[in-house]
């Protein structure tokens, strides 16, 4: 399998760097950050049977995609050192670089020994040197781990490169469609199908320990909510009432699901105890109440409601009580999702016929629009809060997009076959 890597910077850099393509996946950075830190990742020396995965390309793609870094194209490198002794820092200073990453991979049968070094180009100081040993199929994970280490060292924040995402693909099959719930690495690689059906699958939601996914499937021609354990594939139907069974969201302790049911009339928020299957109704009335999400401390549920006429976000105690309106900017605010620290809330904001991803600072209630599409939906925070994954639409086809929470960087994950929607970033 040949791997071609291409990354396009639009805005800051108009140059073509390289392109990541595997199994019909393209990662394209559509908006680069003005303040990104220049870093050069030199192709690692390889000895023995190393295989197809190029560590430096994966690290390159991770760091460039984070929005914090601007990576140096390989063809612009004057030298390609692979050990600290052979680095001439002046070369890298001349290229305007701040940091340098070099390394080696040794394949010895089943395992790989990896060494890498991170240094400051301006003073030649070695900031980090690591040795890792990984198994045959773990080279990409090792590369993401290295990206995490570099990211944390230079930004002070934990990286989110070694995480997973879930999403739903749909593609034509026969006279109909085939919907697949997949789990992949955060960069879209290594997709695994965990459920498929000729009827829609929706709303995947991770359990807090990332061992389970709750989702909605229509494979019986009715909606029902399932909880599936990833390691075993075991699936349990937890809600199959008349009407809507939708929008599952795990409580932070994993013991309950907030869900939407319309069995008692209009769609309302309920909390389902996963051990007893007991239901607690949180909202009532004639309005549409849906898309519940828990605050990280479990005390509050934010949901979408049209009780004021148009859909807006409301919050209420997760034990029940009065709901207060949270959003006032734009005529449509829906599908709230908290960041892991609870300080920010991502949502779909509709204004002037455009649906974009917005972020609210919970302390000041200030709302900023982050994305620039027309049909953006389903926002989901990276576990480190630095990025938001969402579904976008390009030329009538749905694809996944990632935007940094400061809006400075945006990239697309374009799966070439069919549409991709309903992304959820694993905790």
């Amino acid at each position: 399998m040949s791997l071609v890597i291409k990354i396009c910077f639009v805005g800051l850099l108009a140059s073509l760097l390289s392109v990541a393509q595997a199994e019909g996946l393209t990662i394209e950075i559509t908006k680069g950050s003005q303040t990104a830190v220049p870093i050069a990742i030199v192709p690692f020396a390889q000895q023995g049977t190393v295989g197809d995965v190029k560590l430096s390309e994966v690290i390159n793609s991770d760091l460039a995609g984070s929005g914090f870094f601007k990576t140096l194209p390989e063809e612009d490198m004057l030298t390609k050192p692979t050990d600290p002794e052979s680095v001439n820092y002046r070369d890298w200073q001349a290229l305007g670089q701040d940091y340098l990453v070099i390394g080696q991979v040794l394949g010895n049968g089943g395992n790989f020994n990896i060494q890498f070094y991170l240094s400051n180009v301006h003073n030649g100081q070695l900031l980090m040197g690591y040795k890792l040993t990984v198994g045959a199929n773990e080279l990409r994970r090792a590369a993401h781990h290295i990206s995490d280490l570099i990211y944390e060292k230079l930004t002070g924040r934990k990286g989110a490169f070694n995480t997973r995402i879930a999403y739903v693909t749909s593609a034509a099959r026969g006279n109909g469609k085939q919907y697949m719930l997949q789990v992949a690495d955060a960069d879209g690689y290594n997709p695994r199908t965990i459920a498929e059906s000729p009827e829609p699958i929706m709303a995947p939601a991770w359990s807090p320990d990332a061992s389970k996914i709750a989702y909605v499937s229509f494979h019986t021609k009715r909606s029902a909510i399932y909880v599936q354990t990833l390691a075993t594939g075991q699936r349990e139907s937890v809600a199959a009432y008349p009407g809507i069974n939708g929008a599952p969201a795990f409580s932070p302790d994993g013991s309950r699901l907030a869900i939407t049911l319309s069995k008692d009339g209009s769609p309302d928020i309920y909390v389902l105890n996963l051990a007893t299957h007991g239901l607690t109704r949180l909202t009532s009335g004639l309005s549409i109440d849906t898309e519940p999400t828990w605050s990280p401390d479990g005390s509050t549920i934010v949901f979408t409601s049209d009780q004021g006429g148009k859909p807006q976000l409301y919050m209420m105690p997760s034990s029940g009580g009065r709901a207060t309106r949270l959003t006032f900017q734009g005529d449509y605010n829906a599908r709230g999702r908290f960041s892991a620290d609870g300080k920010s809330l991502a949502m779909v904001n509709g204004s002037g016929g455009r649906y974009r991803i917005a972020i609210m600072d919970m302390a000041s209630r200030t709302v900023n629009i982050l994305s620039d599409g027309n049909l953006d939906e389903s926002p989901s925070f990276a576990p480190n809060g630095s990025m938001i994954l969402f579904a976008a639409n390009k030329g009538g086809r749905s694809l996944l997009s990632v935007v940094s929470t400061d809006g400075a960087m945006q990239q697309k994950l374009d799966f070439h076959s069919g549409g991709v929607r309903e992304p959820a970033w694993a905790p």
Binding site: R192, A195, I288, P311
Partner: protein, 197 residues
């Protein structure tokens, strides 16, 4: 002018169609859960163990196509009136305005025709499948699709169709009749499909 019964019914339904919410309880019974892991497609080692996938059985093919609903027929023992383009029964899709679950005037006779047919065929069951266009969030669109299906249901119930004959499902934006963007596609996707079982 003498108002006959049909006019009265249509007038009544037009009133009902103007979006008042009904407090009718749906008395259909709890749906059976037909989930059986049909096949386990084990995948190779990932992370800390293997992850298993499962495939849902493909049902019996109701509405898996993407037809626009006009005269698409439904395969069962429906009479020729369902394929006669001059008969309102040939129309099995009711379209809606943006953000609205109100049955438009032009579709009131279509709903009435189906209601009359169902009232006189009490053993006939239909699924009212509500849909929304792709704008906005997907779960909210599920709610919108259900509101549309419930509008049609209320009109049918008012004309003597029993709750046992009617079942509602909302697919939201998940099953567009027409793919692609723009109002020309969206207006075809904001719909309720009357599916004879």
């Amino acid at each position: 002018m003498r108002l006959n019964k049909t006019h009265l019914v249509l007038a009544m339904m037009a009133v009902l169609a103007t979006g008042c919410s009904s407090t009718d309880e749906q008395d259909s019974s709890l749906l059976e859960d037909g989930t059986q892991p049909v096949a386990d497609a084990s995948t190779s080692g990932y992370n800390d163990g293997s992850m298993s996938g499962s495939q849902f059985g493909s049902g019996d093919g109701y509405n898996t196509g993407s037809g626009t609903g006009y005269g698409s027929g439904s395969g069962s023992n429906l009479g020729p009136e369902f394929s006669d383009p001059n008969n309102p029964l040939s129309k099995q899709t009711i379209y809606f305005e943006l953000d609205s679950s109100q049955v438009k005037q032009e579709y009131v006779p279509v709903v009435a025709a189906h209601a009359q047919y169902l009232a006189s065929h009490p053993d006939q069951h239909v699924i009212l499948a509500g849909h929304a266009d792709e704008r906005g969030s997907s779960e909210y669109n599920i709610a919108l699709g259900e509101q549309r299906a419930k509008s049609v249901e209320r009109m049918m119930r008012s004309q003597g169709v029993t709750s046992i004959q009617l079942e509602i499902v909302s697919y939201g934006e998940e099953k567009p009749a027409v793919s692609g963007g723009g109002e020309s596609a969206w207006q075809m996707n904001r719909r309720v499909e009357v599916g004879y079982q």
